[in-house]
Symmetry: C2
Subunit: 337 residues, 2 copies
DNA sequence: CTGTTAGCGCTTTCAT
DNA sequence: ATGAAAGCGCTAACAG
C-alpha cells in the first residue's frame, strides 16, 4: 500500500541503511554483489526514492520552475515544450506557474520559490511589470534565473530572446514592398521589451523611407473587447492599408475588425504579425506572419539555466548570456506557392 | 544568502522551534502576542517555509502532476491553463510531464511519481498505450488519478471527456447536409478512446443515411511525412468530397495534400476536424471545426481530483465520475457571416 | 567494504 | 501557552 523505503530494503537484506543508499546510488565503495542484491530487491519491490527526503538532505531538488504570463498564447506552449525536452534529458522536473499577466501573482510565485523549492527559474515577465522589487530576493539568495522572450532589462541576468528589432525591420520592409503607404503599429504594452524593440524596428524602417510611407501608432490594452473597438475605430478614421500587430492576439482582433467593416484582406488592408500559430499562417495565406522559433527558445533558455546549475561553484553566473535566436519570416507568398 | 528557517526565527525570538511552527500555522494554543511577534519577524526576514521539509513530514506535498502526450497540440495548452487555474485557487503546485506519445516515457514518469512526490495525478494517455501494466502501481498505492480526454477505459478511475460520439454524429451530418457524397475518415490511432468514439459517431451517421453516402476509412500514423503521402494517395485514387479528420493535425496535413493536388477547399473537398485551434478556424472559414472546451475540461478534471484529495478518508474514490462536457460545433458558414 | 551517527527543516506527540 | 524530543526518508561524514 504505502511506498517502500530504503529502510525496508535494508532490513530485508540485513544491511545498514547507508549501505543500501550507497548501493542504489552506485557508490564505488560497495561490492558488486551487494549492489546486485540491493538493485534486485529494489526492482522487485518497485522501490522509488522519496524525492522530498533527498531534496531536503542534499540541498537541491532537481526541479526547475517555469513562470510565464499565459499559455493561451501558442508561443508559450511551444516554449514549454522545448524546456521540458531539455529538462527530461537532464532528469529534471518542471513546475509550471502562470501569472496571467498579473504582477501581484508574479510576486507571490517568486516569493514561494524562495524556500529552495527549485534549483533554478526560467521566466518570462508579466506585461504590466514595470518595477522589479519582487525579483531582488532571488538575486540575493543566488537562485539561478534565466529570462526568455519578455526579459527584464534592469536585472543583470542571462536572457534568451529573438531578434525583435531586426525582424520588425525586415517585416516592415516587406509591407512597404507589397505597396503599403500607411501602416499602423498596434502596441500591446510599452513596458514589454518585445513591444519596444518591435516598435523600434518598425519606426526605423519607416524612417528610412523618408516620407513615402506614413505610420501611426495605436496603443492597445489587454482587453480584447476594448481593442476591437479601438482598432475598428482606427481603421474607419485613419484608413491605413497596412497593420503591424505587435502580438498575435492583436492581429486576430484586427482580422475581425476588418471583417466588421467589410475590408478585404489582404486587398484593402495587409496584416502582419509576430506569431507562433504556424497553423494559422498555413491555413490563411492572407496573413503575413513572423514565426518565432519558440521551441528552440525554450530549449536554449533551459540549456543556459542548466549550464548555470552545473557551474554553480564558479560563481560566474552573473555574467550576461544573451542568445539571440534568429527568426524565420514566412511570407504569405511563399506559403501560397 | 541562504534561505531563512524556522530555527533562526526561534533563536532570534527566544522561543522554541515548535512554538514558532505553531504560531506560523496559526495554532489555537498560541497566545495572540506571540503569534504577532513571530509573524512580524517572519515577514521582516522574508521567511518562506521549506516545502520539502514539510512535505516530508506531513505526508502530502500540495503538488499534483499533469501527464500529457504533447503540448504542440493547442488543445492541451488550454487544458493546462484550466488545470493551473484551479490549482492556483487551491494553493497547489503543478508538475508537468510530456510523454511525447511514448508509452515507455509514460511508464517512467508514473514510476517516478510512485514515491509520494505528488498528491494526485491528472493524465491523458499516450496514443500507443494499449497495455496498462504501468498504471497498476498507482492504484495499489492509492494515489488519486483522474483521466481526461484520452482516458483509460480498462481502469476504474474518474474521467473527464467531451462527448465525442455525439459531436461526430452531428459533424458528419453537417458534412452530409452540405452535400458530401463520399467521406473519408482519417483515423489517428485505434488505441485512442477519442478516435474510437469519433469513428463510431461517424459510422453511425453514415449508416443512418442508408446507401446515399459512401464512406472510407484511412488509418494514419504519427508520422506527418507518411500521412501526407497516405492522404494524397487516397485523395487521388478514391476522390472523396469530404474529409473527417479525427485530429487537427490530420486536418492540416489534409489541407496540404489537397493543395498539392490542386484541389479547392471547400469547393472540391470539405475538411472537417476536431480542433482547438480557434484561431485557425477563425482565420480560415474554409474549414469546419468542432471546437472542444479544453479550458473547461482542464478545470473540470482538476476539480474532480481536488475533490478526491479532500475526501481522502472516505475512500470512495474508486467511484467513477464521468463528466461529459458538451461540445461547441462551430461551422464555417457561421463564421463567414 | 560496511555500519553508526548526525542531521536537512519541519510537524507533532507528549510533557510541563 | 510553551518546550523537549522524536522522526518523516534520505545522504554523508566518520569509524572501523
Amino acid at each position: 500500500m504505502s511506498a517502500i523505503t530504503i529502510k525496508m530494503l535494508a532490513r530485508e537484506l540485513n544491511l545498514a541503511i547507508s549501505t543500501v543508499s550507497r548501493a542504489l546510488m552506485d557508490s564505488y565503495e560497495i561490492s558488486a554483489e551487494t549492489k546486485e542484491k540491493v538493485h534486485a530487491l529494489a526492482r522487485q519491490l518497485n522501490y522509488q526514492p522519496n524525492h522530498y527526503a533527498s531534496s531536503l538532505r542534499r540541498q537541491r531538488s532537481k526541479t526547475i520552475a517555469v513562470i510565464i504570463p499565459e499559455i493561451s498564447n501558442n508561443f508559450f506552449s511551444h516554449v514549454i515544450n522545448g524546456i521540458e525536452a531539455i529538462a527530461q534529458e537532464k532528469n529534471y522536473h518542471v513546475l509550471i506557474y502562470f501569472t496571467h499577466e498579473n504582477q501581484q501573482k508574479e510576486a507571490e510565485v517568486i516569493q514561494h520559490l524562495l524556500s529552495g523549492r527549485v534549483d533554478g527559474i526560467l521566466m518570462s515577465m508579466a506585461g504590466n511589470t514595470s518595477n522589479i522589487q519582487h525579483l531582488h530576493p532571488i538575486r540575493e539568495q543566488g537562485i539561478p534565473i534565466v529570462f526568455f522572450d519578455r526579459i527584464c532589462a534592469d536585472l543583470d541576468a542571462p536572457t534568451v530572446t529573438t531578434d525583435d528589432f531586426d525582424s520588425s525591420l525586415l517585416a516592415t520592409h516587406h509591407l512597404m514592398e507589397v505597396g503599403c503607404k500607411k501602416i499602423a503599429y498596434l502596441s500591446i504594452s510599452p513596458h514589454l521589451s518585445i513591444d519596444c524593440k518591435r516598435m523600434q524596428g518598425f519606426q526605423q524602417a519607416i524612417a528610412t523611407k523618408n516620407g513615402n510611407v506614413a505610420s501611426l501608432l495605436l496603443p492597445c490594452s489587454t482587453d480584447p473587447q476594448r481593442n476591437q473597438e479601438l482598432i475598428t475605430n482606427m481603421l474607419a478614421t485613419e484608413k491605413p492599408d497596412g497593420i503591424f500587430a505587435s502580438v498575435e492576439k492583436l492581429a486576430i482582433t484586427s482580422y475581425h475588425a476588418c471583417a466588421s467593416l467589410g475590408l478585404a484582406i489582404p486587398a484593402d488592408v495587409k496584416i502582419l504579425s509576430f506569431s507562433n500559430l504556424e497553423t494559422a499562417s498555413l491555413l490563411n495565406p492572407a496573413l503575413t506572419t513572423i514565426i518565432q522559433p519558440a521551441h528552440d527558445m525554450g530549449k536554449s533558455a533551459a540549456t543556459v539555466l542548466f549550464n548555470m546549475l552545473e557551474k554553480r561553484k564558479t560563481r560566474n553566473w552573473e555574467r550576461n548570456t544573451v542568445i539571440r535566436s534568429s527568426m524565420i519570416i514566412r511570407r504569405s507568398t511563399q506559403i501560397a506557392r
